[in-house]
């Protein structure tokens, strides 16, 4: 593959820029897929934590205690360990332990409890008075969740999605260690195992750009949602 001479001088070991491009796309796919599923699972889980919490609309101490325990356990296990422990589950869910598909179950199981806590915190920021006003208008719990809690907490939830997305970038890179592909995989195999430090530099720079981009987009969305 032909490359620009300057790039070749700077990064002598990188002979296949196409591979790097594919790794980028893999990382983005893992990130997009796992973020979508994390939100899909973490949002209801966060609402459940909020509603069943002490003194809340549907306070249920036992259910809250159990959910909180599961969430805390999943959050306590270091992601790299979680990935290895979850391998049988991953295989059962998606039929493989490798590649993008194999990476998504542990990413989601690792990130959803984290995101759920962020959702719970965002919902707690909603003023009690607004919820009381909705109750006084005859709103059901579901209507309060749908029309009061989620819209009022939307800026906080958007900030939570941003933080979670960035955490997921880190997780996908770790996934490289057990063969999930993506930028982390390149950095680990070429950069770390083969001492080709230019690979390391380029992947890290790409990851920084990705994280920076996510933060900027997230901040803009949050600003837009809180502007009223």
């Amino acid at each position: 593959m032909t490359t620009v001479p300057l790039l070749h001088t700077l990064f002598p070991n990188i002979d296949d820029w196409g591979e790097l491009g594919r790794a980028c796309i893999d990382t983005l796919l893992m990130l997009g897929g796992s973020l979508a599923l994390t939100v899909l699972i973490g949002l209801p889980l966060g609402v459940l934590l909020y509603l069943t919490g002490k003194g809340q609309l549907r306070a249920m101490p036992k259910l809250y205690g159990l959910t909180a325990l599961v969430v805390n356990v999943l959050r306590s296990v270091p992601f790299i360990i979680l990935m290895i422990v979850l391998m049988p589950v991953t295989y059962f869910l998606v039929g493989t332990k490798l590649g993008i598909r194999g990476a998504i179950p542990p990413l989601v199981i690792g990130a959803a409890p984290f995101f759920a806590r962020l959702v719970e915190t965002a919902l707690r920021e909603v003023q009690d008075g607004v919820i009381e006003a909705a109750q006084a208008m005859g709103a059901s719990t579901w209507q309060i969740v749908r029309h009061v809690l989620l819209p009022e907490a939307r800026a906080g939830i958007a900030a939570g999605i941003t933080v979670t997305a960035i955490a997921l970038v880190g997780y996908t890179a770790m996934g490289g260690a057990i063969g999930s592909g993506g930028l982390g995989d390149l950095a680990y195999r070429y950069g770390y195992l083969s001492y080709e430090s230019d690979y390391m530099v380029v992947t890290v720079v790409l990851l920084i750009v990705l994280v920076q981009g996510l933060q900027v987009i997230g901040d803009r969305v949050v600003a837009r949602l809180s502007r009223h």
């Binding site: 003023q127 008075g129 607004v130 009381e132 006003a133 909705a134 109750q135 006084a136 208008m137 005859g138 709103a139 059901s140 209507q143 029309h147 009061v148 819209p151 009022e152 939307r154 949602l225 009223h228």
Partner: protein, 342 residues
């Protein structure tokens, strides 16, 4: 009609029952503006929330048009709540929604789907509270008075028969308070809506309420027509509230009595037409009694004009003069007896 039958409420704190409201009976008639006045912690917020069951009574029954609110299941309770509007001290509007969407909210909650019908009702409500120009603004862009108007429009959306006001003017400046109270009075008059209003200011009660209950440490210590309670407060708590509403007079009567003033010190209360007739000067001229005005005020209790004068009367015919004043419909109290109720 709203009726409290032997209703009481206590909260469980650290395994102990802490009473918030002592057993009470209360009737609020259709179409009246009923005030509940009390200091913070007296139980008035709890009392008003017992009406729409945001707080459940620990015992007793709350009846609205003979429906026992405490016996309703969830869906039936929600249906009843739609007939009871409520406004709040801190407005409690949805910050993420425009004024129009805030007002449409209770309509949507009640299952209205027709966007045109919603828009028409919202426009009508905006016109009633004078906010037509602000439909597409967000609450954070409004002043306190405007926010409370949105709260009122929202509370009226489902055409309730009762409006609960939880310290609705306490966060507003005096001018805005006056405007909001005038709006509430207008709504009460035109929509024939029952208003239950809680406040810690006697002035609010004086301006809009027909009847008032005074709450002190969970007890209803006095109930009656506002004019009676305001002109002749009996309980010490009530008297303090009335004094707070009359700052100058309060200061003078409290610390000092008119010990050095010669003659009998009396307080005369005129109500309605008596306020506008020169009864005092006629009686004094006829009986030859000298009078000296020590304090006085002429104002209105809702629409009723009233006057209250503190006088020192001196002369041989004071008793005859008092008799003539009483005959003319003027209420008279000895100030000395007011100062030392024992």
């Amino acid at each position: 009609m709203i009726r409290f039958l032997d209703v009481h409420k206590s909260y469980r704190v650290d395994g102990r029952d802490v009473p918030a409201l002592q057993p009470l009976d209360l009737e609020i008639a259709d179409g009246e503006v009923f005030g509940i006045i009390g200091h913070s912690g007296a139980g008035k917020s709890t009392l008003v929330r017992l009406i729409n069951l945001l707080e459940r009574p620990s015992g007793g029954r709350v009846l609205i048009d003979d429906i026992d609110m405490t016996s309703l299941d969830e869906p039936a309770l929600r249906a009843q709540r739609r007939r009871i509007g409520m406004i709040f001290q801190h407005f409690n509007l949805l910050g993420s929604q425009t004024v129009a969407d805030n007002i449409a909210f209770p309509l949507r909650l009640a299952g209205e789907r027709d966007a045109k019908a919603i828009r028409a009702r919202v426009d009508e409500l905006l016109a009633r509270v004078g906010l037509q120009a602000h439909a597409d603004k967000y609450p954070s862009q409004l002043s306190g008075g405007q926010k409370q108007r949105v709260g009122i429009a929202r509370a009226l959306a489902n055409r309730p028969s009762i409006l609960l006001c939880d310290e609705a003017t306490s966060a507003l400046d005096p001018q805005t308070t006056g405007d909001v109270l005038a709006l509430l009075a207008e709504i009460n008059r035109e929509l024939k809506l029952t208003i239950v209003l809680i406040t810690h200011e006697m002035d609010v009660v004086r301006r809009v309420c027909d009847r008032v209950a005074v709450l002190d440490a969970g007890h209803v210590v006095e109930t009656g027509a506002v004019a009676d309670v305001f002109l002749h407060p009996r309980h010490p708590t009530t008297r303090r509230f009335v004094e707070e509403a009359l700052p100058e007079e309060a200061a003078s009567t409290r610390q000092t009595p008119y010990a050095h003033v010669p003659g009998r010190i009396l307080r005369l209360s005129f109500r309605g037409e008596a306020t506008w007739t020169p009864t005092l000067s006629r009686v004094m001229r006829d009986t030859g009694v000298d009078f000296n005005i020590l304090a006085g005020r002429i104002d209105r209790i809702k629409e009723l004009p009233y006057g209250q004068l503190t006088l020192a009367l001196d002369g041989a015919n004071v008793d005859a003069a008092l008799e003539a004043l009483r005959t003319a419909g003027i209420e008279i109290e000895e100030v000395a007896s007011l100062e030392n109720p024992s």
